[in-house]
Point group: C2
Chain length 212, copies 2
């Protein structure tokens, strides 16, 4: 029988390739990742990527998965009515996604790497993941500022928050050299998230206070 849900050998190699690709893309970035290493990890032939996904670009497009980010936003929207608390929760979950090595979702890390040099998939990433995320955080900040802040200033507050969060992932090689004793274990991630939340809440309230 040829049911639509059959798991063929082909599907298995596809899955192995996607899994390996996510790991390698997250580790080396799109440009730095090589098809040969991906195939080595997936125990597949070099030609497999082009057979199953057409090209390296096609592999990246299918390796992207925006579900974890969307889930984060939906869970946060259901977390209650207090915007300050929701911001704290959001930052904590976001940092766990970005930094926790045990976290299965390498998605955020792949996208974080693409921020700097544009890949063919950047437009899609911005449209489907980053723009909604900024929108979401913008609403949250707006509630906290109680509409006392202008649009441009509000947008800059959102950028300040993302800037702080992404810095820890983006500059990891540098931070490791600056503070060799620091490890991204759960306790440290929680402390970082708490700092960013409190730091940012103070900044937002200050922006709202200096009504322009």
């Amino acid at each position: 029988m040829t049911g639509a849900t059959d798991i063929t050998a082909s599907d298995q190699t596809r899955a192995r390739l996607l899994d390996a690709a996510r790991g390698v893309f997250a580790q080396h970035g799109f440009q730095g990742a090589t098809i040969r290493e991906i195939c080595r990890r997936a125990e597949a032939n070099v030609a497999a990527v082009n057979y199953h996904f057409g090209s390296k670009d096609g592999l990246l497009a299918e390796a992207l998965n925006f579900a974890p980010l969307k889930a984060l936003q939906q869970a946060n929207a259901r977390a209650g009515d207090c915007p300050e608390l929701r911001l704290r929760l959001f930052i904590r979950d976001f940092m766990l996604m970005l930094l926790d090595e045990n976290n299965a979702s390498t998605q955020c890390r792949i996208m974080a790497r693409e921020l700097a040099d544009p890949t063919p998939a950047l437009d899609q990433i911005v449209r489907e993941a980053i723009a909604p995320l900024h929108e979401f955080l913008g609403e949250l900040v707006r509630e906290i500022a109680e509409k006392k802040t202008g649009e441009a200033e509000l947008r800059r507050c959102v950028l300040s928050i993302f800037g702080q969060c992404l810095f820890y992932r983006h500059s990891h090689p540098v931070l490791q050299r600056l503070h060799p004793e620091m490890r991204y274990d759960d306790r440290e991630i929680e402390a970082i998230a708490r700092h960013i939340a409190e730091f940012s809440l103070a900044g937002i309230r200050h922006s709202a206070g200096a009504a322009r």
Copy 2:
């Protein structure tokens, strides 16, 4: 006569290569930059880089110039006694270095690109530029917090400030897609710097207030 300050033809190509290299490294990053493009811009032969600098790594090492960053710190130290004001000035000058297209110092931009993926020169960059910069900003934050903040929290404040600043450079491709109307002209850079300074001052004071 063979004085030590003669400007030979060789020195001229050296200078042209260094100039071209700084531009290409800042634009494409170390990995993305090709020797052939650098030599094309410098109107030199492909073999010139290896003749004058030994290798691509050697070219990067000589292309780095930490003077502008040191000058920024020294000028800031002479700017008066009020630490809040000095932080505002520091952030403004730093952002001008990072974002102003007319700014001659591509140095900061080269280093900013290297943060993400380590190059052979990263250790040198951290030792000679980034570590002193963090040290400097740490002292400034310590004065503002009036010693009411623990070391770990103080360090995180410094990271929050750098995170916000570097985000605008690092995520420029994304921000361009998110807000196509935004331009990094002088007025905008000043506004960004003012926001980051006020946002961060509020955060630092909050940290100092919640004495632990």
